[in-house]
């Protein structure tokens, strides 16, 4: 479905754009817990950067860079970070997701909460990124019989 | 009245359930399988019998299992009436088990394991019906009885048999639904479902509501008791193997229906409430119609088992008539008739089965001269016929005597007339068979040789016929039916 265009402009611009996109995605992620933004938004941007890569360079090229297997692992990893931090709070004697109880090297409970939510956002970031790319690849690779991979 | 907690009622039910499990497990080895049946039948009878002395001493045996719904337990209680029915059903099961072996093997029937399995379950359920302490327990066993009998009715698996099975279910499940409604409504009105001698519904509802309730109860249980015009399933179900017709459709199932009617009349509504509501007379007329109508229809049947079925329908209504008359003698007659009719009718059915196994004949018109071939069988048949017509010394006359006496006590001459007419009709539809069998020549020459059915079948036939005569001479013989029945009447009327 995705036809590879031999278009230098698009390729070049993408090559320039993608690193900045990704950097911005990480910025959005890291500021999510006290300003607009967060793991989901950052994850979508990160995912979009890869989607851009697919559009510019075609499926084959993109697949060489990121495999479905890796994406699955990223998605699961994100979920594990998320639920792991929550469960960690359980182990520390708090309720689920009670970051205040987590032993971060910070002085106050609100600061610990901020650290906790950042961890959560990172988990969400990975998952959302991976899932976005997965959905795109699965639908885009319709012609190539992508159902079974 | 003394309540005693006892495991025996539960044991009586479980013994045949256990047998049914063993039957399934040993289905591949017929001899072992059938010995379980006989063992269970014997054990069951002994267990029930062992309860008789304490019941006669005025005790009531009770066993409470789990609570089914707030205030109502799965409870077994052996009072005189329950014991009476339990004795009858378990006693005749012994005869039927032996007979079944002869019959099923004689015909090389298929699926015998299923047959014996369902039979054992049906008997458990029958005893459960007999020993139920409240309406919900009763209904539980009643439904198990219905369902476990279905495979027996459809046993032959021919299209007709399957149709008969469907009809059976259609009638009985519909009636079950009506009963369920009645029970739920009773619970709503009274908050209790426990049987109490003399009834517990008095003053629990408006007369209109109670009358409606009575009608739904009688319609519901009356389907199993095959009242006309809701009797049609019974003649159709005669397609089942003969032992099934004999025990279940002459004794256990239909009598369970009648027994339930008795429970409702005497232990839920109670005689005084019924006479207050004037329902008894309505019921009397209703069942009288069945008595006469079924007898007339029986005249028209050529198939022997169908004729017997219609006779059963008519005789069952005797019992309910007696209960509805609510005088002491009538009640006694009605309860006695449960057992006596059982013995006589099972003899007749056994004979019909023996004739079928030996000669393959089912229709009366083909039975010319068959008495010379099978004199013992047909002799037993004659005994049963005499009994049902109410001629001494076979036991039928006794119960009929009490019923007539009861009608006179109630001041309703018309029911005496009905009973007598029905006796005449009995003569009219049974004696021609006996006449044909013994005095008419068979077509195509006389098979001079005697050819009785195997002893597996003959022994139960003769035993049942003999018992009918003995009970006619001494109703208290062996298992003291008369005494238990009198006690049951006393329970109901509160004559202590």
């Amino acid at each position: 479905m995705i036809i590879q265009y031999e278009n230098v402009i698009i390729k070049t611009i993408c090559r320039m754009l993608i690193p900045f996109l990704q950097l911005f995605a990480i910025y959005v992620l890291m500021h999510g817990h006290y300003s607009p933004g967060g793991g989901f938004q950052g994850g979508v941007m990160m995912g979009a950067s890869f989607i851009l890569l697919v559009i510019a360079y075609g499926l084959e090229e993109a697949r060489q860079r990121i495999s479905l297997k890796a994406l699955t692992i990223y998605a699961c990893l994100g979920l594990f970070i998320y639920s792991g931090i929550g469960a960690w709070a359980l182990l520390m004697g708090g309720n689920y997701l009670d970051y205040g109880k987590l032993p971060f090297p910070v002085s106050s409970v609100p600061a610990a909460r901020a650290m906790g939510i950042l961890g959560i956002e990172i988990g969400v970031f990975f998952s959302v990124m991976a899932i976005m790319i997965c959905i795109f690849l699965a639908i885009a690779s319709y012609d190539t019989g992508g159902e079974n991979d | 009245m003394e309540m005693v907690c006892s495991y025996k009622p539960l044991l009586a039910i479980l013994v045949s359930l256990a047998a049914s499990a063993l039957i399934l497990l040993t289905g591949k080895r017929p001899n072992l399988r059938e010995s379980w049946t006989i063992l269970a039948a014997g054990a069951k009878f002994l267990i029930v019998l062992s309860m008789a002395p304490s019941v006669l001493n005025g005790q009531i045996l009770e066993y409470t299992m789990v609570t089914l719904t707030p205030g109502i337990s799965l409870q077994l209680r052996v009072d005189a009436l329950g014991l009476y029915f339990g004795l009858l059903a378990s006693g005749l099961w012994i005869a039927t088990s032996i007979y079944s072996i002869g019959y099923m093997r004689g015909l090389q029937e298929h699926a015998q394991t299923r047959y014996f399995f369902c039979f054992a379950i049906a008997l458990s359920a029958t005893i459960g019906v007999a020993f139920s302490a409240n309406l919900l327990t009763l209904f539980l066993f009643y439904e198990i009885l219905t369902i476990s009998t279905y495979p027996l009715v459809a046993h032959k698996e021919t299209p007709e048999a399957l149709a008969a099975g469907r009809k059976y279910l259609a009638y009985l499940l519909t009636s079950a639904v009506v009963i369920l409604f009645s029970i739920a409504y009773t619970y709503h009105l009274a908050g209790s479902l426990d049987f109490v001698g003399g009834g517990f519904l008095d003053g629990r509802g408006t007369p209109a509501a109670l009358s409606l309730l009575f009608v739904t109860f009688i319609l519901g249980f009356g389907t199993k008791a095959a009242f006309m015009p809701i009797h049609e399933w019974l003649p159709t179900a005669m397609i089942a193997p003969t032992p099934v017709s004999a025990l279940l459709h002459a004794v256990a199932v239909v009598k369970a229906g009648v027994f339930c009617c008795l429970r409702v009349i005497d232990f839920v509504f109670g005689p005084s409430l019924l006479s207050d509501l004037n329902l008894w007379l309505v019921l009397c007329y209703f069942v009288s119609f069945t008595i006469i109508g079924a007898s007339l229809l029986a005249l028209a049947q050529d198939n022997l088992k169908r004729r017997l079925a219609f006779s059963t329908i008519s005789q069952l209504s005797y019992i309910v008539l007696g209960a509805a008359l609510i005088t002491p003698s009538a009640l006694l007659g009605s309860i006695l008739h449960i057992a006596f009719h059982g013995f006589m009718k099972i003899t007749l059915f056994f004979c019909a089965g023996a004739i079928f196994v030996k000669t393959g004949k089912e229709n009366i018109s083909e039975m010319n001269g068959i008495g010379r071939q099978m004199p013992l069988t047909l002799g037993a048949f004659a005994v049963g016929a005499i009994g049902l017509a109410g001629i001494p010394p076979v036991c039928g006359y006794l119960s009929k005597w009490y019923l007539c006496l009861g009608s006179l006590e109630a001041g309703e001459m018309i029911f005496v007339l009905i009973l007598l007419t029905s006796s005449l009709l009995n003569v009219a539809y049974f004696f021609p068979i006996v006449y044909r069998a013994f005095f008419k020549k068979a077509e195509g020459g006389d098979p001079a040789r005697r050819a009785e059915a195997s002893w597996w079948m003959l022994a139960p036939i003769l035993a049942c016929a003999l018992m009918s005569i003995i009970f006619g001479l001494n109703p208290d013989a062996f298992i003291r039916f008369h005494q238990i029945a009198s006690l049951a009447v006393a329970n109901i009327l509160g004559l202590f």
């Binding site: 607009p36 959905i135 639908i139 159902e147 | -």
Partner: protein
């Protein structure tokens, strides 16, 4: 009357959008159009939620200099809720697209009538 309608214009817009979506879901025979209708439907609800968080004169729900009262900020909660709802709607669309692909592979069409014909 006009004033009444205008004062609640956010509700009217969402209702109209929702009905457009509803019509597409129920009335259209093409499965993709149905899917688009579904998206419109969901978006209408998101719009509705966002609009109920608005306050006249309120500003971004991020602590700012000079805005000290609660009335100075719009209600952030509906927005947060809708963030979740958007995720849900994206995933629903994803699943629906995947299912549509399966349908297309199997029947080579996305017209409901033709699919039903070929199933028979």
């Amino acid at each position: 009357m006009i004033e009444y309608l205008m004062s609640k214009y956010n509700y009217w817009i969402y209702v109209v959008l929702m009905m457009i979506g509803f019509y597409a879901m129920m009335g259209k025979r093409n499965l993709v159009k149905k899917l688009i209708g579904m998206n419109i439907f969901q978006t209408a609800i998101i719009l509705y939620y966002i609009s109920i968080g608005v306050k006249k004169g309120g500003t971004l729900p991020v602590v700012m200099e000079g805005a000290t009262r609660a009335a100075d900020y719009v209600n952030p909660l509906p927005h947060v809720l809708m963030l979740t709802a958007i995720v849900v709607s994206v995933s629903t669309t994803g699943v629906a697209l995947a299912v549509l692909l399966m349908i297309y592979r199997r029947y080579k069409t996305l017209e409901e009538d033709e699919i039903l014909k070929s199933m028979r």
